[in-house]
Amino acid sequence: MIHAILVFNNHGKPRLVRFYQRFPEEIQQQIVRETFHLVLKRDDNICNFLEGGSLIGGSDYKLIYRHYATLYFVFCVDSSESELGILDLIQVFVETLDKCFENVCELDLIFHMDKVHYILQEVVMGGMVLETNMNEIVAQIEAQNRLEKSEGGLSAAPARAVSAVKNINLPEIPRNINIGDLNIKVPNLSQFV
């Protein structure tokens, strides 16, 4: 399980803080600081894994991080996650941000903090990896953006717009599930279905 996702810049200023495990407010801040100091000490050419600080579970938890220009992306996970898997998940997250913001930079993360959270919600839900397919995530976000646009026209024709918003549905996203030879058969299960 992922216990926390922290993004901060080279100076330790938090840019995104998302905890999936309950920590008191002040401990959260301390964890961000402690993690920043742990990560800052490390060169770019040593490994991307380290043990969580004393506040966040010590050696039971792993910190897996990536450094992009001005930002550190740190995922705090327990032993049930694969280190390399998470490393690529960070990459997926950042690439998705890049697609959604068109050349993402630190500023985007500051001024569209809420949007970053929405994107994250489509990748990780309640500490669990929900989706790793970038196109899928972007499609979800775009559907939400469309919603925002129709909301913008709300003042012009209130009644119609309201009904339009209410009836809006996420577009059907073709995933070729029943096409081709993919047919995940699960034997032994017929009695349960």
């Binding site: 220009a69 280190e83 903090m113 929405y118 989706e131 790793t132 909301e151 599930i177």
Partner: protein, 1144 residues
């Protein structure tokens, strides 16, 4: 990727300038959306933390006004929320906005709702009281026809949801599993997973639906359900073995590229899905040959298909290797996996190297020879600039430590320890060093020095077990008297040298260890007199940096030394100085010392030399004081009440409004009138016994880790491959001369280095050479292991510090803990100072008793007539009536009539199997496994103190079976005690034999499995083995708790965890008594009382975890209310009760 984050904050000011707010109301409104921008601009412009704080406080107070103003529209509120989130992220309290976040989620349109939900999930936590206000909104949104709303509601549910409100949304979320949109189904699965995490009992009934999700036509939903399965299989794999085939099929299809291209990540098909599946297979195949065989093919294919072109393929490979080494071994696969590990270890990429070391650490336990293959890499990693890699390497070395390489490995560990500052790293590493030193120390000097390093580096953060184990080791000694003596002597000498060093401060723990050893064993010294030692201790005592706890240790040591140096002036001075100390504890010690000092004879008998390991008997019930107590009571002294009773009475008196049921009436009726002295003495007797039981259990627990501790020395190499070892050995021979001596000391190595260097300095660089030498000293003993075995000298390595194996072992916890009584019998009077002390810890209960006695003394007696010493004497003289602790454990062993036909075994009722019917309840006989010759059935007897599993083995064949043996694999949650006769030489033809195991629970769980096997030899000396498993639930460990109504009332108030639930009663159980009766029978509860429409029940979870139940009938609704001292228990009992109510 790094180029995408190129724009920096320097661009900020320009951006903001374009956004200057204009004048007028309209402009103000327009600028509202950019308020976050101006806030950020403000913050970036600041230079100091202090200014930032000021600005944010300003911002927060203006936000506070805005959000509570009635004119604020929801749209403005939306903006406010974003700014609040920003402030909270920076660590400022914005709690005034929480309620508005909930309001926004309730009332806003889609976009506003989205912000509201986000803010709620960031601000609140699961137990926040405001969260209850959100439940209704979530329920409404879950029922919405709008997909976005449903999706948002599911997200927030999986993020935070109050546990007790799960029933309100559960059916709605279950419905969503059939939703037409895959994304909704996927989110619903994850939401249910969240519920499974926080309240497993509440979702137990929908496991079938998880299976449906696993077969979902959408791959995403199936992948989401794997999260749940991974978790559930981790908890108990036995229930899911039937799914192995399905998981294998899924993995096969994924690996075979049958998924749509969408799922590819860098042209690797669904890597995260593969990782998940491999982990599930690992858990399923562990120690299970049949299941493992199903997965060999797909694992092989995974290894083959993983072309190393991307980082993520390594992730899959790593999981694959891990799985191959975890499941039942197959040599072909192991060989391939070992090659794979090489790819990791030898990779120039540091991440992969790290994982390679991790894999080696894991694999090394099964195949130590692999370490030899990669020894040079390991040596390089030891000096790696990355501390994480270094640590992982040390972890690996820790696993391969043996008597030959210990000095080098411990040396490396200490080096690392000196560099690191992280507390948990120190604690962890110091523990490992101490463990290794105790196990493999080559000689006394090394051992003492290493332990000194451990104590001084570890400081006061080390685990208290380390000094305790160390002291016990010194005290108990080994079989060799002379050896003991030299070890102790060496310890004392090294401590005296350390204490001579000026201006060095040692950690308190270290000083405590020193003072104990000096106090006990200074008599061994020839040169220095006890007086000199006392002077040193005295100097320490006067030091300002010494904590009062350590002072107590020091003064105890002085006291022990006093009989040997009676005329010492230092002692007199010490007494004078501390007798007026402000610290009561020290003053008491000084008085004790003074009185002892005056009476030499008594002192010598109380403080004998080197008797710390002698047994000592203590009258825990303090029965000799009965007369004294009776006298006191006659004179009108109030009877003694334990602390918690007094507190409770105080509480119930203080209460003006009583919201708790029973509280007043019970505490009023609970303790009225005085109890007779006899009553008290009975009471104390009983509690004395129970303290004793507690002591025993504790000892057993402290002993188990010892037996579990890793010992690679005599390890049987299960899965090593033939042919590896000889090759490896020759490799070592080529690379470097193995050092023949068993005791490789660092100096030796260094010498060899210099010696060898001179003749052939030109061929190899010195550095290179050192590495090789280090390698040979590190890996010595690894490869040679098999040769030792061949020579039949498996145990040639002498374990110096292995504990004496005496019959005392089981009991020794008891005796060793008592031994300290002699040496510090009265220092133990000072409760506070010794809180940390292990020995005394186990004696806690007794000491409490004694304390009570002494407090009585000091309260009642004139302080002039100081009579503690005779009491101490008496204490040690009085023999304690040893309660037969395991009397209840002597189980009836029954013999089935030999003529009973085996085939009929299933029909025999259990009761008839028992020679004398037991009063305990038992389950029905159930067959657990069978084949053509043998059939094993089992039933459970719910005994008062444990669960007794009885296996009845029926021989169905017409010939006799030999050496039948039934074994139960150890399970982590249980303690299994084998009853005698678990191995039968012969089972006659067509007869039935019984085995039994008593099972105790060590750690609460909801359901666990015990697996075991039976093996036997047939008449043609073919041997066969049959495996089986039984499921145990927590219910098997629940027993009635027989208490009175008064006790119930008292206990009720003292428990913190409670759970309430209303249940509809069916027609048949309309009357309370009948409903209770059912519960009593089905769940083994005790009915305490029935008062009108209320019922009180009590039960306990073995060994002694009470749970109280309160039932109230109101019309056709039954209100259940549970309380217990354990948080999980009420939930479980509630679930069971509900099940029973629904069932009947």
């Amino acid at each position: 990727m790094s180029d995408i984050v190129e724009k920096t904050l320097t661009a900020l000011p320009g951006l903001f300038l374009q956004n200057q707010p204009g004048g007028g109301a309209a402009a103000a409104k327009a600028s509202f959306s950019s308020r976050l921008g101006s806030l950020v601009r403000g913050i970036t412009a600041l230079t100091s933390k202090h200014e930032e704080e000021k600005l944010i406080q300003q911002e927060l107070s203006s936000l506070k006004i805005t959000v509570s103003a009635p004119t604020t529209t929801l749209k403005m509120m939306k903006e406010c929320m974003v700014r609040l989130i920003y402030c909270e992220m920076l660590g400022y309290d914005a709690s005034f906005g929480y309620i508005h976040a909930i309001k926004l989620a309730q009332q806003g349109n889609l976009l506003e709702k989205r912000v509201g939900y986000l803010a709620v999930s960031l601000f609140l936590h699961e137990n926040h009281e405001l969260l209850l206000l959100l439940v209704n909104t979530v329920v409404k949104d879950l029922q919405s026809t709008n997909l976005v709303e449903v999706s948002m509601a599911l997200t927030v549910v999986s993020q935070i949801f109050p546990r007790e409100m799960i029933p309100a949304v559960l059916p709605l979320i279950e419905d969503k599993l059939q939703h037409s949109k895959e994304i909704i189904r996927r989110k619903a699965v994850l939401a249910l997973y969240k519920f499974h995490l926080i309240a497993p009992n509440q979702v137990q009934h929908i496991h079938v639906k998880f299976r449906k999700a696993l077969c979902d036509r959408d791959v995403g939903v199936m992948a989401a359900s794997l999260h749940i399965y991974l978790r559930m299989i981790k908890e108990s794999s036995s229930g899911y073995k039937d799914l192995t085939g399905s998981f294998v099929t899924i993995l096969k299809q994924v690996v075979g590229g049958k998924l749509p291209v969408d799922f590819n990540y860098h042209s690797v098909p669904a890597p995260w899905l593969q990782i998940q599946l491999l982990r599930i297979l690992r858990l399923l195949g562990k120690d299970d040959r049949r299941t493992s065989e199903l997965m060999y093919d797909v694992l092989d294919e995974s290894l083959r298909r993983a072309e190393l072109n991307h980082n993520v393929t390594y992730a899959i490979l790593f999981e694959c290797v891990h799985t191959i080494y975890s499941i039942y071994p197959k040599s072909e696969l192991l060989e391939k996996a070992a090659k794979c590990i090489g790819k990791f270890v030898l990779s120039p990429k540091i991440n992969l190297k790290y994982l390679g070391l991790k894999a080696l650490t894991y694999v090394i336990q099964q195949d130590p020879s692999l370490a030899l293959q990669h020894q040079m890499t390991i040596i390089e990693c030891l000096d790696h600039p990355d501390p994480i890699i270094k640590r992982e390497t040390l972890e690996l070395l820790y696993r391969i430590t043996n008597a030959q390489n210990i000095t080098v490995i411990v040396q490396k560990m200490l080096e690392y320890l000196h560099q690191s500052k992280e507390e948990y790293i120190i604690v962890n590493l110091v523990g490992k060093i101490a463990e290794l030193a105790e196990k493999f120390a080559p000689d006394n000097a090394w051992f003492i020095q290493t332990m000194n390093a451990v104590f001084s580096v570890g400081g006061d953060v080390i685990h208290p077990d380390i000094p305790n184990n160390y002291l016990r080791l010194l005290a108990e000694g080994f079989d060799d008297e002379a050896e003991d003596r030299s070890l102790r002597l060496y310890a004392i000498q090294s401590y005296l040298t350390l204490l001579d060093v000026e201006n060095v401060f040692y950690p308190q723990r270290f000083l405590q260890v020193m003072s104990w050893v000096l106090g006990e064993y200074s008599y061994l010294l020839d040169k220095e007199t006890p007086e000199a030692v006392i002077t040193k201790l005295y100097k320490l005592l006067m030091h300002s940096s010494i904590s009062s706890e350590t002072k107590a240790w020091l003064i105890a040591a002085v006291t022990k030394l006093t009989p040997q140096a009676h005329s010492s002036n230092v002692v007199k001075r010490l007494i004078q100085e501390f007798i007026i100390s402000l610290d009561t504890c020290m003053r008491q010690h000084a008085f004790e010392l003074k009185h002892l000092h005056e009476n030499v004879e008594l002192m010598k008998s109380v403080l004998p030399v080197n008797k710390s390991c002698e047994d000592m008997v203590v009258d825990a019930s303090l029965s000799f004081l009965d007369g004294f107590v009776a006298e006191g009571l006659n004179q009108g002294v109030a009877p003694y009440k334990p602390h918690h009773q007094r507190q409770e009475e105080k509480l119930s008196q203080e209460k003006v409004l009583n919201f708790e049921p029973y509280g007043l009436s019970f505490s009023a009726s609970g303790f009225t009138g005085r109890q007779s002295p006899a009553g008290i003495s009975v009471g104390s007797d009983v509690s004395g016994n129970s303290a004793e039981t507690g002591l025993k259990e504790k000892n057993i627990r402290t002993y188990t880790p010892k037996t579990n501790s890793l010992k690679l020395e005599g390890i049987k190499k299960l899965w090593g491959k033939e042919g590896y070892l000889p090759k490896k050995e020759s490799a070592t021979g080529d690379e470097a001369q193995p050092i023949p001596q068993k005791s490789v000391i660092m100096e030796n190595v260094n010498q060899t280095v210099t010696k060898k260097d001179q003749p052939q300095a030109h061929t190899q660089s010195r550095e290179e050479k050192e590495k090789h030498l280090l390698a040979s000293s590190l890996f010595v003993g690894l490869g040679s292991e098999s040769t030792i075995n061949l020579l039949g000298k498996a145990d040639t390595v002498s374990h110096k510090f292995r504990r004496k194996s005496k019959t005392k072992e089981i009991n020794s916890g008891e005796t060793t803990s008592t031994h300290n009584m002699t040496c510090s019998s009265f220092s133990s009077l000072s409760n506070a100072a010794y809180e940390e002390d292990y020995y005394l810890d186990t004696l806690q209960d007794r000491r409490d008793k004694k304390l009570k006695q002494f407090s009585l003394n000091s309260e009642l007696l004139d302080s002039e007539s100081f009579t503690e010493l005779p009491v101490v004497e008496k204490l040690s003289n009085c023999s304690m009536s040893a309660p037969s602790l395991f009397a209840d454990n002597n189980l009836e062993i029954f013999h089935p009539s030999p003529s009973t036909a085996a085939s009929a075994a299933n029909e025999i009722s259990v009761a008839s199997l028992l020679e004398e019917p037991t009063e305990h309840m038992h389950s029905d006989l159930m067959e657990v496994c069978n084949n053509e010759t043998i059939s094993v059935s089992s039933y459970k007897i719910w005994k008062d103190d444990c669960l007794l599993l009885v296996w009845s083995v029926a021989n169905k064949s017409c010939s006799e079976l030999k050496s039948a043996n039934l074994e139960i694999a150890p399970a982590e949650n249980f303690k299994i005690t084998e009853q005698p006769e678990c191995c039968l030489p012969i089972i006659e033809a067509e007869s039935t034999k019984s085995f039994q195991h008593s099972v105790q629970m060590e750690k609460p769980f909801t359901e666990g499995t015990l697996s075991g096997f039976i093996n036997y030899q047939m008449i043609d000396s073919r041997s066969a083995q049959l495996e089986f498993s039984v499921t145990l639930s927590l219910l098997d460990f629940i027993r009635p708790l027989k208490i009175s109504t008064e006790d119930f009332g008292r206990l009720w108030l003292s428990f913190a965890n409670d759970v309430k639930q209303n249940v509809k009663m069916s027609e048949s159980q309309a009357a309370l008594p009948s409903a209770l009766k059912t519960l009593q029978q089905k769940l083994r509860l005790h009915i305490v009382d029935v008062i009108d429409n209320e019922g009180l029940l009590a039960c306990q979870l073995l060994p002694s975890m009470p749970c109280l139940l309160h039932f109230r009938v109101h019309a056709d609704v039954l209100a259940l209310w549970f309380r217990s001292s354990c948080s999980a228990l009420p939930d479980y009992v509630l679930y069971q009760c509900q099940k029973v109510m629904e069932g009947s």
